[in-house]
């Protein structure tokens, strides 16, 4: 038996395996749900109704998808250029810190200007945060997987310090929590009275924007060329290192927008539990989307639905929410396997 590369996979061959991977992940989850004492059909029914069964559930899913779209985009932009940014978590918090530092009264701007300025500054700060490992990579060949991953922990401790010290809300009754944003710095809701904020709209715009950059601009062309074959790109006169640095700025900026949108749209202040690992889940989202910017939206919605649905299922059926983590993990692993299947066929000799 051997693997043989497939020259030109058909559309079915490309779409079917990821779909099967997700179906298989449901099967794995069903098995585990049974072990946990639940009825799989009931569990899935509860997950689905919990995720999309009511207006409230749908809005909750969209809200949960918002930061995942941003971090998923951040990862896919970086991974496409073979810049292995594992530090989206830190960049997310960087965006949140900038928003909180400037948005709690330090910056006195009219309402229409406040949010764009905060967003742009958050993007720059997040981009610069990833620029450091990117420069270390291009100049000294330091592995960015290590630097970005480890920097997450350093930055989270730094945020912890800020929340215990300089940024601590004087009216917060001693909780490690920042002051609340001024009203001008809050992202408005899309529809009055419903808990969905414009961060979701911004995420969709960002996804389309990245898709446009990818497809129609020289920067997108350069990033893809560098990712696919840096040696050939350099030979063809593409400035490889500057392209990697631009990619870093873009990727870090997108991840920072997740933090900006969570603080300005949802929470209104910064706490240490702002992100339950959105920066890491973004990797899952990007991989499930096969690094396609529009696919990221779909993947983020899927992942958010599983999380939100599992929360409500857990309350009703008593099956732990860890089921959601297992579903995502198995979906990811099976997708990676599926990608292999789309590229190779098994041949018996």
């Amino acid at each position: 038996m051997r693997l043989e590369p497939i020259a030109n996979p058909t559309l079915t061959r490309r779409v079917l395996p990821p779909a099967l991977a997700i179906a298989a992940s449901f099967a794995v989850a069903a098995f585990l749900a049974m072990i946990a004492g639940g009825n799989p059909f009931q569990v899935f029914g509860l997950i689905i109704s919990g995720a999309v069964g009511s207006k409230f559930a749908v809005l909750e899913t969209l809200n949960r998808a918002t930061p995942l779209i941003f971090t998923g985009l951040a990862i896919s932009v970086a991974f496409r250029a073979k810049l292995w940014n594992i530090g989206a978590e830190a960049q997310l918090y960087m965006g949140a810190v900038v928003t909180v530092v400037l948005g709690t009264g330090a910056l006195g701007l009219p309402g229409w200007l406040m949010l764009p300025v905060l967003a742009v500054l958050a993007v720059i700060a997040g981009g610069v945060l990833l620029l450091v490992p990117a420069v270390l990579k291009t100049r000294l060949g330091v592995d960015e997987v290590v630097t970005t991953l480890l920097f997450n922990f350093i930055f989270l401790l730094f945020v912890s310090y800020l929340l215990e010290g300089p940024l601590k809300d004087p009216l917060g009754m001693g909780w490690p929590k920042s002051a609340r944003l001024v009203p001008e710095a809050r992202l408005p809701r899309i529809v009055d009275g419903l808990r969905l904020h414009w961060g979701f709209g911004l995420a969709l715009i960002a996804a389309v924007g990245i898709w446009v950059v990818d497809k129609f601009t020289t920067l997108g062309f350069e990033m893809r060329a560098v990712g696919q074959n840096a040696h050939a790109a350099r030979f063809a006169g593409i400035p490889v290192n500057p392209v990697i640095l631009k990619t870093a700025l873009l990727s870090g900026g997108l991840a920072a927008l997740a933090g900006f949108s969570e603080v300005a749209g949802l929470k209104g202040s910064l706490t240490l539990d702002l992100s339950p690992g959105y920066g890491y889940t973004g990797i899952v989202v990007a991989m499930l989307a096969l690094l396609h910017p529009l696919g990221v939206v779909a993947a983020a919605l899927f992942v958010a639905a599983i999380f939100v649905g599992a929360d409500s299922m857990s309350r009703a059926a008593g099956v732990p929410t860890y089921l959601a983590d297992i579903m995502l993990a198995s979906a990811l692993l099976l997708t990676v396997l599926a990608i292999l299947i789309t590229k190779f066929r098994v041949r018996r000799d």
Partner: protein
């Protein structure tokens, strides 16, 4: 006489082997016998199917049809292990040695027992010494492989096969990396091996070697076995005709007067790197309307010179001038801006991006200058450009949106060629432009280079194929260990003379005269 010999004791029999890669038939119904103590040369141009056939024999590929028989028993297809056990040893074109291990460790790799290693090691070393003595394979078992020359490494590879009691040796283009003198040493070894009853399959496209070493020659062309001759019954001329087929006409250029020097190197050196031989005070002039050939055994600094002219590296000393302008800042983009067309040695890894389509690969060097406006790509113009190249340069493909990895080597090279020639370059760097192409594509590339020469371009042709160099070049240089020989005008030096320079002899004499 030969027929009876093979009929009696075929140690190896290939029967009706057919192998297809997609639509390309790499081997078509090839049958071949090998007798004990016989050297069979497998002759053919690059891409004729020699390596594919040997990979099938060695079990790295499974044949679509046909079978391999060793000592009368059929080998299971697709199993190198079975081939090894049956006594087939293969020496690849590219060596498979662990650089940081010693010679003997490389040879015994995977055969030492878990316990009693020191005793086993001693026996192994003794056996290696005995083998290396009896087969004239001089190499020190305790030396680290990274300190060995290319020729010595090849000896290690052969010892590796002999150590595992190979009865049939397959050598894939063994002399491609050797100097003529080292090649003679290899031939002595092979004669010794044959005298001891081993059988050898010798893959080559060099006629004089084949005539020197083989008992019998099998000629492959376009995947088919077109002729089988005893060496005593044939001549180099006949073999050349059989190989080429005589259907496509090779271009011939008349000599012509040189124009001004468009690119000059004056005493240029480069910094030492791990992988490439650095340049050692090279002076070179590329004249308009001339093809300057650069001969040499691979790895003697040609890649470095190619990288230098491509813009990938800058000189560490010396002067580089282009069209009488001194060069200070130097990068691939600057090189492109100076009108240098670069045909890289490796079109798969350097010249193209495999998963980009033809349109994207066609615009790779000019996307920002010709196909974009303020950062927005004009895909319509890019697509039109790709269609134009497909049409003009006869690139066979389903369309401009085909990923380049699906194209054959020849068509890929036509795209690279079209991409650079379309801008009417003044200077052309052609590094191994026809490696691995079929004869039709070779002639096409050569003809296009000839046209560019007529149009007044200064062309540097780097090749390991002396025939190609001598056929196309107006002047020839030879590189050896990063040094450059003086220029020899067409016809003023023959292959033997060039061979001496390739081996480094000329440089020593020159240094001798200078001192």
């Amino acid at each position: 006489m030969i027929d009876t010999k093979t009929a009696q004791h075929p140690v190896l029999r290939l029967s009706n082997i057919t192998k297809r890669f997609g639509k390309v038939v790499a081997n078509e119904a090839i049958s071949l016998d090998l007798a004990r103590g016989e050297v069979v040369a497998l002759l053919g141009e690059n891409g004729a199917g020699k390596t594919t056939l040997m990979n099938i024999l060695f079990g790295q590929y499974a044949a679509d049809e046909g079978f391999v028989e060793v000592f009368g028993s059929t080998l299971p297809p697709g199993s190198p292990r079975a081939a090894l056990d049956a006594g087939v040893g293969m020496v690849h074109q590219h060596f498979t040695l662990a650089e940081n291990l010693s010679v003997w460790e490389n040879i015994v790799l995977g055969t030492l027992p878990l316990f009693g290693r020191s005793l086993a090691a001693r026996t192994a070393k003794d056996k290696i010494r005995a083998l290396s003595e009896s087969f004239k394979l001089a190499v020190e078992p305790n030396a680290t492989v990274s300190t060995l020359t290319v020729g010595e490494r090849q000896r290690v590879e052969i010892l590796k096969a002999l150590y595992r009691d190979a009865k049939i040796l397959i050598l894939d283009e063994p002399t491609a990396v050797l100097t003529p003198q080292e090649a003679d040493g290899l031939f002595a070894t092979l004669r010794e091996a044959v005298g001891r009853g081993l059988s050898v399959v010798f893959i080559s496209h060099k006629l004089h070697e084949v005539m020197a070493i083989a008992d019998r020659v099998v000629v492959l062309r376009h995947g088919k076995l077109v002729a089988e001759r005893a060496t005593t019954d044939t001549s180099r001329d006949e073999l050349a005709r059989l190989m080429v087929g005589g259907t496509t006409k090779a271009p011939e250029f008349e000599a012509r007067r040189a124009g001004p020097a468009l690119l000059s190197l004056d005493g240029v050196s480069t910094l030492a790197t791990k992988s490439e031989t650095p340049l050692d005070q090279i002076s070179l002039n590329l004249h308009a309307g001339q093809i300057t050939g650069l001969a040499g055994v691979s790895g003697n600094g040609q890649a470095t010179l190619s990288d230098l002219i491509s813009g990938l590296i800058a000189p560490s000393a010396g002067l580089m001038t282009i069209a009488e302008g001194e060069i200070s800042a130097w990068s691939p983009r600057v090189a492109l801006g100076k009108g240098i067309a670069r045909i890289p040695e490796d079109r798969h890894k350097t010249g193209t991006i495999a998963d980009f389509d033809l349109t994207e690969n066609a615009m790779l060097e000019t996307y920002s200058s010709q196909f974009a406006n303020r950062g927005w790509i004009n895909w319509r113009a890019a697509r039109k450009h790709a269609d134009h190249l497909i049409e003009t340069y006869d690139i066979r493909c389903p369309g401009a949106d085909t990923r380049i990895r699906l194209l054959s080597g020849g068509n890929m090279q036509k795209l690279v060629l079209g991409r650079v020639l379309e801008n009417n370059p003044r200077i052309i760097l052609a590094n191994q432009p026809v490696r691995g192409l079929d004869i039709g594509a070779v002639n096409y590339v050569h003809a296009r280079l000839g046209e560019a020469r007529t149009a007044g371009a200064a062309i540097l042709l780097i090749s390991e194929d002396l025939d190609e160099i001598m056929k196309l070049s107006d002047v020839v240089h030879v590189m050896s260990e990063g040094r450059l020989s003086p220029a020899f005008a067409r016809g003023s030096i023959d292959a033997v003379g060039l061979g001496a320079w390739m081996a480094g002899d000329g440089f020593e004499e020159r240094a001798h005269h200078a001192s």
